[in-house]
Amino acid sequence: MDETVAEFIKRTILKIPMNELTTILKAWDFLSENQLQTVNFRQRKESVVQHLIRLCEEKRASLNDAALLDIIYTQFHQHQKVWDVFQMSKGPGEDVDLFDMKQFKNSFKKILQRALKNVTVSFRETEENAVWIRIAWGTQYTKPNQYKPTYVVYYSQTPYAFKSSSTLRRNTPLLGQALTIASKHHQIVKMDLRSRYLDSLKAIVFKQYNQTFETHNSTTPLQERSLGLDINMDSRIIHENIVEKERVQRITQETFGDYSQPQLEFAQYKLETKFKSDLNGSILAEREEPLRCLIKFSSPHLLEALKSLAPAGECRIQKPLCYSASYSQGTQDLSSC
């Protein structure tokens, strides 16, 4: 086994937390059951790692096997990366998409290898018709750097691919080209959507975030949630408050639905507005040119935070860009808070 491969596998296994080690090794399916049984996982991590490396050497692990282990590690730790979303499009009047996974993988690999002599491309298919692609980049003269790979998750027979953000930006056009040609599309465009949570990105882009539908079979009654009112108050005040709270709750439910929101961490809007002012001599008001600025909202869970704003009586805001049926990427007006 190559020294670089051994080092690569060692560093990958060292990253894996002890409680996940057996699961990931089983998913890798490279070392046999018998081999794994010979390992004492209760030792100190360094000893376990050394034993595993010896086993890998016995089985002559290749660079491809090591890359596969890296993919599995990343699949288990998706949230450590930030994912961008790319959307591809076909020309008008294209033939029906007869996606062939083998053909796609060969085509993708060939395009990258033709452009850059030194590149490592590995694939792992998952159950939801997605293929995880790992690319380690080299140049004409240097070997691929296995420690800064790019990951692409492509959902076949859809126009969407998710790519891990990386600092090596100069390879992005080539990657886009390879993806487009191999999947038989014409164009690729980066969307204004980015998150650590692949599931949430998927939910937004495939419009899967609201999967409750009204049928004649469903006997779910209107949910009566406790509105948190003070029982000691005058009953007339309670009545007025109930009416207002119910109205707010209804609007919140119509906007956000009953389901759990996709997890976004920030949203950015371009704002173009003119200011009105009652006071004379205000600097911002009475300008010919509208004011242009960029507003960024951030939160560990932005949509849930926004959803709880209205019931808390804080503000009134338009639905985020991603929820509109057509994906418009223009400017969005914010109503005043």
Partner: protein, 292 residues
Amino acid sequence: MAGILAPGLGVLAHLERLETQVSRSRKQSEELQSAQAQEGALGTKIHKLRHLRDELRAAVWHRRGNVKACIANVEPNRTVEVNEQEALEEKLENVKAVLQAYHFTGLSGKLTSRGVCVCINTAFEGNLLDSYFVDLVIQKPLRIHHHSVPVFIPLEEIAAKYLQTNIQHFLFSLCEYLNAYSGRKYQADRLQSDFAALLTGPLQRNPLCNLLSFTYKLDPGGQSFPFCARLVYKDLTATLPTDVTVTCQGGEALSTSWEEQRASHETLFCTKPLHQVFASFARREKLMSLVS
């Protein structure tokens, strides 16, 4: 004597006294009159109130009497109510059953606060398969609020063509695509689950199930060459392939019998659903093993 000694004073004082006497007595008689009038008014009021009270009392007695009579009659009335309730429950069950039965028509819907939620129940060869929902908002323009259609079904294209102009066509077109997809998926799933013994390798398939390739042997474990089949479904509204290629894995020139078999398999895959073709292979194999 006082009157004679001061005749002016005495007379004036007397007159004054008389005046006050008169005014006093006038006031008294006025007060008496008003008191009498008030008394009279109160008296009539009392009479009226007494009369009202008596009337109300009579009414209360009358009502109580009625209620008692009602309670006395309630036994026969109760059974009538129970019968009505049973009839209503039966009607409710009937309606629920009819609504459920709509599922079997393949296309049903429920009115919502904003429009309608359409349910498409797919089926293939009499087997009820997956259901898909499209929640429509009835506004100008008509729009889709949310749906459970898989992303590789061209929902946006169909909507762009028909949703605004001909909603029936939109729904039927969508039904076509979804039923065909369900049917193809069903055939591929059945092949994988029921006829794995005849396959010599894994079934290659894609999300739309419109490209299937697999290798199979008619006699598993026997000496015959495996066949490679490639089924292409270019028509996404169909459950039978548009192109079929069957080759022999050996690659050498085939004897005429093998060539005949190969050609017949191609025809079979084009004309019959996949799992039925394999079912016929399995039956033939069983027959052959019984005969030999």
